[in-house]
């Protein structure tokens, strides 16, 4: 595979090293002179020094071939958006992965149809939700293009769903329980499953159904 990595900071350099170790052909574009020199000491001819949002620089990196994959990994979201758009729309690159630095910019990436994206801050926040049990409803996974999300709730002793079979909970359309973990053992949730206190329940639902599902299961 031939990949062009734009942005040679910590993320870009580590990704480049990992791809090279897997014997992929890689070029990495870095704007800062000192940083590019440091990269060149390690990656030699694979380094292109220049602004990766300038088209002639991207072309020096081989974007016109085009590569199998372009990774927009700079520390600036506006740069990553433009790199992703140029790669796909100007050079016909089929696979583009973009880094989102500020999670507030995710909506702009989505608006411009840039996917997949990776947002480390968002990932860390999801892990915090998962690890710190102060939230009763945890977002486990967002399936952005499918418009679905997977959540986890823990059933408490005084939750309204305790003792009621799943089929009688009156869950809204666009939501479904997937599984129940009880005493460390997971079971698929079916219509007859009766929820008990301490159950960890996974549910899949359309974004926006959360408050209904929360109310039915947790009563708040």
């Amino acid at each position: 595979m031939f990949a062009v990595v734009v942005g040679g900071g910590k993320v870009g350099a580590n990704v480049t090293r990992s791809l090279v170790a897997k014997d992929h052909e890689v070029t990495v574009v870095e704007q800062e002179r000192a940083r590019a020199d440091a990269l060149e000491a390690e990656f030699g001819h694979r380094v292109v020094h220049g602004d990766g949002t300038e088209m002639y620089v991207l072309e020096l990196a081989g974007i016109a071939r085009p590569p199998d994959l372009v990774l927009a990994l700079t520390g600036d979201d506006e740069d990553n958006m433009v790199i992703a758009q140029l790669a796909r729309e100007r050079y016909g690159v089929e696979k583009v992965i973009a880094r989102v630095n500020d999670p507030r910019n995710q909506e702009h990436f989505d608006l411009l149809g840039i996917a997949p994206t990776v947002c480390p801050t968002q990932r860390i926040m999801s892990l915090i939700e998962h690890e710190v049990p102060e939230h009763d409803l945890v977002h486990l996974l967002e399936l952005r293009s499918e418009n679905l999300e997977i959540i986890e709730v823990e059933v408490g002793a005084r939750c309204p769903c305790v003792g009621t079979p799943v089929e009688e909970l009156g869950l809204p359309a666009g939501s479904r329980l997937i599984s129940v973990v009880r005493d460390g053992k997971a079971e698929i949730a079916v219509g007859e499953t009766v929820l008990e206190p301490g159950d960890q329940v996974l549910a899949i639902l359309e974004p926006g159904r959360e408050s209904e599902v929360r109310r039915l299961l947790l009563g708040r």
């Binding site: 949002t53 300038e54 088209m55 958006m81 140029l86 909506e107 702009h108």
Partner: protein, 140 residues
Amino acid sequence: MAPMNAIIVGCGRVGSALAQGLADDGWKVVVIERREDALTRLGEGWRHPFVLGHGMDSHVLERAGIADAEVLIAATDGDNTNLVIAQVATKRYRVPHVAARIQDPARAEAYGDRGFEVISPVRLAIDGLAAWARAARPAA
């Protein structure tokens, strides 16, 4: 032309002069700028609102009244920032007249057909200087 609601993003040399010019024409102009000190470029007589913040921040755009804006000009010193703001204004907020200042002529050309105006000062300088040079005649 009737006075319009305009948002200018970026209060540098271009943005501030543009804002003052349109305000003198009687337009309702709102300026968005990230650095407070740049707003001094608007001069003591500036009587229109400005919003302190980043033009890629939706809350900032909304506070500047993007829902009612008829014109938005992205004139920050970052080409890519301007490209993103112009696309957000066009695609998300449906601002009818949007322009972006793009220094790099190649990127200006690549984004020339996306429903907003692209003005490249570098392109204008190249074209102007080339026309001037071509009009020169040998000294008699």
